[in-house]
C-alpha cells in the first residue's frame, strides 16, 4: 500500500479490521432478525409499557431528579481542574529551581478557588441523596 499523505498505512490495518468487524456484526445481527424473524401484527395493546402483567398506571410525567445532573456537573468541573494539573506538573520541570515557589503557589491558589466551590457545594447539599 505504501505511503499516503506521508503515513505508512500498513500500521493501521488492525484498526480497519476492528472497525469492519464491529460494524459487520451489528449489521448481520439486524439483517438476520429482519429476514428470519416473523414480524407479528402491531396492536395498540402490544405497544404499552410492560408492568408485570398489570394494566398501566395513570400516565405521569417522569419526575426529574436533579441529583443526577448535580453529580455530573460537579464531576465535569473538577475534572477540568485535573486537566489543568497534568500539563502544569509536566511542563515546568526545568524551571523548578528558579521559580519553584511561584509555580507551586499559583496552582495552590487555583485549587483553593475550587476548594471554596467544593465547600459551598458541600454545605448546600449538592453531595447528598445520591449515595
Amino acid at each position: 500500500m505504501g505511503k499516503w499523505w506521508g503515513v505508512m498505512l500498513e500500521e493501521y490495518l488492525p484498526a480497519l479490521v476492528h472497525v469492519v468487524v464491529g460494524i459487520g456484526f451489528a449489521v448481520v445481527a439486524l439483517l438476520t432478525n429482519f429476514l428470519l424473524g416473523r414480524a407479528g401484527a402491531r396492536s395498540k395493546a402490544k405497544d404499552t409499557p410492560y408492568e408485570c402483567g398489570m394494566l398501566p398506571a395513570i400516565e405521569e410525567q417522569p419526575r426529574f431528579s436533579v441529583k443526577f445532573y448535580l453529580v455530573a456537573m460537579l464531576f465535569i468541573l473538577f475534572d477540568i481542574e485535573v486537566v489543568f494539573m497534568y500539563p502544569w506538573a509536566v511542563v515546568f520541570r526545568e524551571y523548578l529551581e528558579r521559580e519553584g515557589v511561584l509555580i507551586f503557589w499559583s496552582m495552590m491558589g487555583f485549587i483553593g478557588i475550587l476548594l471554596v466551590a467544593f465547600l459551598y457545594a458541600l454545605r448546600k447539599g449538592a453531595m447528598e441523596w445520591s449515595r
Binding site: 478557588i113 465547600l119 459551598y120 448546600k124
Partner: protein, 485 residues
Amino acid sequence: MNPILLEAVLVCYAFLLLLVEAFNSRMPRRYFGWAAVVGTTVVFFMTFFVDSSKMNPEAGYYGFYAADTLAILFKRFILLVSVCVLIMAIEFAPVLVRYLPVEKPDAGSGEMYSLVLFACAGMMWMASAQNFVMIFVSVELVTITFYVMVAMMRGNRASLEAGIKFLILGAIATSLNVYGIAWIFGTLGTTELPEIGAILQSIDSSLFPSLLFGFGLIFAGISFKVAAFPFQFWVPDVYQGAPTPVTAFLSVGSKASAFVVLMRVLESMLSNSELSSKILFMLSLVAGVTILMGNLSAIPQTNFKRLLAYSSIAHAGYLLMGAASIVSGNSGPAIAYYLMAYLISNMLAFGVLLVVGKSTGSDELVHFNGLGKKSPWLATALTLAVLSLAGLPFTVGFFGKFFIFSSALQAQQFILVGIGILGIGCGFYYYLKVIRAMFWLPASKEQSISSPIEISKPYAVMLILLSISLIIFGVYPEPIFNLIP
C-alpha cells in the same frame, strides 16, 4: 500598591461572603448585601493608592494586565456601578425571594451579592486586558456570571426564558469571538495587542483577507455584548425578563467594559490605515443601523423596561458612532464621558423603575400613570433621568451627546451625524411618553387609593445623590472631564 491586588482582594472578599453565606443560615440576607457594599467601597478607595510606577502599559504582567490611567478610570467606574447595583439588589430582594422555589425563605438570595462582586472583578479585568486571551477569559467570566444572574428567579418563567435566550446567543457570540482570535493568531503569530499594533504597521496586504475575517469575527463577538446591529436581538427579551438590578448592571456595566475592550482592539489596529479604513467603514454602517433600529423600535413600546432596553440599543449606537470616529483624536474621552453620563441617568431610571415595579407588580407604562401626584419626588427623579437620556441641555446626557457628535463631525462622518440627529428626535418622543404618563394621565382607580410607595432610606439617598450629580455635571462638566485621560 500593586494593581493586581485590586481584583484579588475583591475576589477573595466575594469568596469569603459566599462561604459565610453558605455556613450561616440565620443572619438576614441583606447584611451580606451591605457587607458587599462595604467591600466594594474599600476596593474603590484602594484604587487611589495604586503604585503609579506600575501603571505603565509596558510594565504589564507578561503582557496580560496593564493598569494605565484608562484602566484605573474604568475600574472606578465599574466599582461605582457595582455599588449602585448592590443597593438595588438589596432593595429588590423581597421580589427575588418570592420567585425562588425553595422551602426555606431567605435561602438562595444571598448568592446574588457574591455574583455581582464576581462580575465586577471580571469587568475590572476586562478594563485592563492587553492580550486577546485575557480579553476572552475576562469576558467569559462576566458573561457566565450574568447567565446565572439573569436566570436567578427560578420560579419566574420570564426570567428563565430570558436566561435561555441570553445563554444560547451568548454562547454563539463566544464561539465567534474565539474563532476570530484563532484566525488573528494564525495570521500574525501573536495575541498581544501592542505587538499586533507593531506588526500591523508594516504588513503585506496579501494577508488582508484573513485579517479582515478574523477582525470581523471578533467584532461580531464584541457587538453582541455591546448590543450593536446584527446581534441586538437578545437585548429586549433579556432586559425585560431579568431581575431589575441585573438589567441595570447589564445595561451599564457590561456595555461599558465591552466598549473599553472595543477601544483597545481598535487602537491596536489603527497603525495600518488601509485595514482600519475598511473596519471603520463597517463600524459606521453598524452604528447607523443600530441607532435607527433602537430608536424606531422603542416608539411603540408599552412596557417601560422594554422601552429602556431598546433605548440602550440606541445609546450603544451613539457610542459606536464615537468609536467609528476614532481617527479624530478625542473620541476616546468622548466615549468615556458618554459612559459616565449613561451610568448616572440609566441607574436613576432603573432605580425608580425598580421601586415602582416592586409596589405595583409590573413594569408596564400604564402603572406610571399619576405618579406625579402619588410620589412627586420619584416622578421628578424619573423625569430628570429620562431627560438626561434624551439629551436635553443642562443635564449630563447633553454633554455626552455633544462630545460624541463633535468628534464624529471632526472625523467627517456626516451621514452618521444626520442619522444620529434623527435618532435623538425619535428618542424625545418615547422618553416624553413616560413624562406624559406620570404627570398628565390620571391614575387608575386601584392605584389612586393604594398607599404611597415606600423606599428604604439608603436607597432614597442613592437616588437623591444620582439626581443631584445629574444636574450638577450637566451645568459644570469639568470635574468628570478632568478625570478622563
